[in-house]
Symmetry: C2
């Protein structure tokens, strides 16, 4: 039993890694929130569907730093992050509710810019901001703007997609090149590293892609946007949660050259770096080519491709096949690679 498997000691303190979307976040959910709220962790997805009318609910807190980054800001990030979680549950985004925690001293012009960016982002997924709340904390008790958004949408596919539907023979498709959001944030923070401006975030809406798949008669078995922890974390969670094996060809995973270079400089593995407008889907083998064709027809989807498959071996593990026939296991992150990425 390694330290990550020991129960959480309540006298322990929260670390940045508890917000990283990796093992410690999972333990916080599994050991504190799921028992308190009477939820089954195994069934927790990014979007909950609590009733029997097809309504899906999701929520996100956004604490990205800096507030404005190449390709977006905290406003469109909140809109896309929340609408994308609905899309990943097969739901058409309808309504958003947004809460602001402003730090005393932040400029009202910045608040206006973020609000307009949020509204524009929501419109790209067909959603509308309908409710809100604003709180202000003293200087030094916040960090400019924290933005929390909650989304409501209606499921538009016959059956909810989820990792419990993964089965050997299905094919894994990625909707575009990965790791740009995380790389853009890091480049915005470390201007001196020489790659600032070359990389823009992939922050964008996924509902148009999912809707196009549905319209083409394709209903993915499972979908997940590759946010905190990146593509590798999604695959590791799916494999662990469902018991199937997932095998991807590392050479097939699209990564921009500039992003690959930045990751090398920073010592990061692109497979673990966050996207905010890319997803991985499992589809029936016979629909793989059609899925890629649909995704490539949409803005941002030019690099969509098949990257692997659900396997009958490697049960419960996600594995990346590399050049020269070697393989590596994609485990979940134990620590925090990129704090405050979203």
């Amino acid at each position: 039993m390694n330290s990550c498997q020991l129960p959480i000691d309540p006298s322990q303190c929260v670390t940045l890694a508890h917000g990283g979307g990796g093992r410690l976040t999972d333990r916080l959910v599994r050991e504190i929130f799921a028992p308190a709220f009477g939820l089954d962790r195994a069934l927790l997805n990014d979007g909950a569907e609590p009733g029997n009318e097809g309504w899906v609910i999701t929520t996100d807190a956004h604490v990205v730093h800096p507030l404005i980054f190449p390709g977006g800001d905290i406003g469109c990030l909140a809109a896309h992050g929340t609408c994308n979680d609905l899309a990943m549950a097969g739901a058409a985004p309808a309504w958003l509710a947004v809460s602001w925690i402003l730090e005393e001293g932040v400029s009202i012009g910045l608040v206006r810019r973020v609000a307009e960016s949020l509204a524009a982002g929501a419109r790209m997924s067909g959603a509308k901001v309908v409710a809100g709340d604003t709180k202000v904390v003293e200087r030094g008790k916040g960090d400019g703007i924290f933005l929390q958004s909650c989304g409501f949408g209606k499921r538009m596919c016959a059956q909810a997609p989820g990792p419990w539907r993964l089965a050997p023979g299905q094919v894994l498709v990625v909707s575009g090149d990965i790791a740009r959001h995380g790389a853009a944030i890091m480049s915005a923070r470390g201007g001196g590293l020489g790659f600032t401006g070359d990389i823009t975030s992939d922050c964008g809406p996924l509902w148009p892609s999912v809707r196009a798949l549905f319209e083409a008669g394709i209903e993915p078995l499972a979908m997940r946007d590759c946010t905190r922890g990146g593509l590798a974390t999604v695959l590791a969670e799916w494999a662990e949660g469902s018991g199937v094996g997932l095998v991807v060809e590392e050479a097939e995973i699209p990564v921009q050259e500039a992003v690959r270079g930045a990751c090398e400089v920073l010592g990061l593995d692109p497979l673990y770096v966050a996207c905010e407008g890319r997803f991985v889907a499992a589809v029936e083998a016979g629909q793989a080519e059609a899925s890629v064709a649909v995704l490539r027809g949409l803005a941002g989807g030019e690099e969509a491709r098949v990257i692997g498959e659900v396997s009958g071996v490697y049960a419960g593990r996600a594995v990346a096949s590399q050049a020269y026939g070697t393989q590596r296991v994609l485990d979940r992150l134990a620590g925090e690679a990129l704090p405050r990425i979203c």
Copy 2:
């Protein structure tokens, strides 16, 4: 034109008063958020009902300081605050989505306590936490725990209650003694003032009271919980928004002796001090006595009573009649009396 009526200068900065629920909060909503999101400020209520299926949505950010106070903590405050907004729209609380912004270093035991308190509070209104998200910010970029909650509920009355339904002849009823939450927070902050421990927050669920009114065949025309800005701010907003006059008898408004004393020491007017488990309702005159009887039958409602009426005079104004026949206008707060009360 006084300074509060000048348009917001985008180069201006956010102040604590922008989060106080008074005039500056209103201007932020009216001049920044409502235009950005395409909302009609005049129709904004605490709960939005965007579709045609009777679903009501509401959201709140919670930044209360201290996190634990006499009578509650940030967890039950979030649960009640959100469920109460649904209840005020005549909706039965069903589902909550909760986002956490934790400051690095906060104890996991405290997070657990708050989660359990939140779940217990939700259950008191028949709601269940179904979705969540957790982010962590560096030490010094937050303040322990910020908690955002979003609620989803179904309207259980024939017509949505709202200030637009106010009309002369209706009677104003308050559901219990006011100002305890704000006084409890201030006493928790200023232990040296000598009244610590005498006052507990009124933080509690309102849906049981609203449901009991519905079951008795009473559907209030307008309802609002008296949170930031207190009872006076609700009345001022209702009068200003609807154009009717509202007249209350100040001597009829129930305030605990200890609360009145604390407010005197602190130089606060109890009518402007927040409650978190009290509401004011406008009902038809013929239902006033029955309403009070229903409310008194519930825990916390022992002090429920008629406090005034909707008037054909004083158009657009809320007025408090005092002893000796004097009257004072209840205007909205221009500044911030009690920052981070909720």
